[in-house]
């Protein structure tokens, strides 16, 4: 059975852009190990030659015209939603 260590949890948190609380660092290795242990029961199924199902609509290649749809929302309204913005851009901390 898959055993998830504290280090594994920290790695997964990093992959997921998540910081964790101390409580979560304590509880998540067991929780995630148990959940992965549960889902591992699928290994007993024979799926040789079975096609995977990624979606259930049978729809294929749903196209639309490459035109702008007006949702009636202004640039100002969207910038207003940002936690930090100038008059024409969203502001973020230094990237590099």
């Amino acid at each position: 059975m898959t055993k998830i260590s504290s280090d594994d949890v920290q790695h997964l948190a990093q992959l997921s852009s998540l910081q964790l609380s101390d409580d979560e660092i304590d509880s998540l290795p067991t929780d995630i190990s148990n959940i992965l242990g549960y889902v591992e029961q699928l290994s007993e199924l024979n799926t040789d030659g079975v096609e995977p199902t990624y979606q259930v609509t049978d729809l294929e290649n749903v196209w639309r015209d490459d035109v702008i749809i007006d949702y009636g929302i202004s640039r100002e309204q969207l910038l207003d939603l940002a936690p930090d913005a100038t008059s024409d851009s969203v502001k973020v901390p230094k990237v590099l």
Binding site: A13, L15, N34, Y38, V39, L45, L78, V90
Partner: protein
Amino acid sequence: MSVIFDFLGKSARQNVLDALEKAKSNEQYHALLNLTEKRALERADSVDRGEITGQLAGVPFVVKDNFLAFGAPTTAASKILENFESPLQATAVEKLESEGAICIGKANLDAFAHGGSTENSAFGPTKNAFDMERVAGGSSGGSAVVTALDIVPFALGSDTGGSIRQPASFNGVVGVKPTYGAVSRFGVVAMASSTDVIGAFTTNVADAELIMEIITGHDERDGTTLPDFFKKADVKTNQKIGLIKDFMTSDVDPEVLARTNEYVEKLRAAGHTVEEVELPMAKYALAIYYIVVPAELSSNLARYDGIRYGYRAEGVKTLAELYGKTRDLGFVTENKRRIMIGSYVLSSGFFDAFYLKAQKARTLLINEFDKLFEKYDALIGPVVPTPAFKLGENTADPIRMYLTDIMTVPTSLAGLPALSVPAGTTDAGLPIGVQLMGPRRSDAALLALARQMETK
């Protein structure tokens, strides 16, 4: 309980005032996160002046707070969206509004719809309408409870693995999970894109049919919507119905089994044939679900990064710190748990063993359903193995919580329509629902069957 018809032709303002008053006098259930009082009263006045007309003119309703809707923030019951005021509305909300319905508030849910009890709400749990020491169910717990408490005659919810059907069962109301793609998801906070559907809670089946007629249909803004197909139907006589044996085991509460068997007898008395059928893949459905759904939601929740909208953590120096801390404070533990499982099953070394394996197993499950529907018009079984459990009873053990969805996830993975309809109560008075399931696009036929049985 109230039916939509009773609200028609009345003063919309009075309908809305009554609903708001009931909402306020039932605050102890914590079914609603925000009221949309000001906007609701403005819209009511427009209806009363005859400026807005339609099949639902002046009828109050509630939306689960993962639907973008005006009048109050759309929070998804999370800290990260606590103050998010959407600049647009979900298609389903727009369609209801265009028929004159009036949204009076936003219902509580498990944060980002991750959960089966509403206990994962960042703002505290919703209480069961029949016993305040018990859970509302979830994730659409608030929507079920406002309907059961008669605050409004209907409410919208979303169902990814049982989030409409399970709380409907726990609160004694009708819950509709339509065929995948029947209702536009435009403007609804995405969880798992291959199983998310939009549906409704009502007090009776005829109202559910009316709401489905209004909210279903193709939407250019949601590429996964199917061509229009929903049309209220007359019940087909002498149906062949399969009782899923794999759902009727000794693990299921005896009173749940008893109510299900009584419903089966009512079906027989109405001239339908009910036979036991096997769905051997059902026992793997939850394992498939807890690979596929975390994988999909880990991608969908990547957008909550504190950059363009929502909460942003203070006092950070780098972008990586900003993401990490924002998402730490913005998400609840269950959100993080699921995101991390998603990251795990999608990571390069484990993709084939988990994600690909699950999607192949999903095909096997769908094949079993398809085979059953060659012979049967519909399937029946319980909705949940138990009546509503106690608050706190399952919070310490995620798997125990997940297991409450064991009979609702199979249809979600296959994209099939399924209903939870009231089937009586326990001796102690807790509601129990029964689940009717059908082939894709059989939504109207299932509702017609449920409507026939409602009067028996």
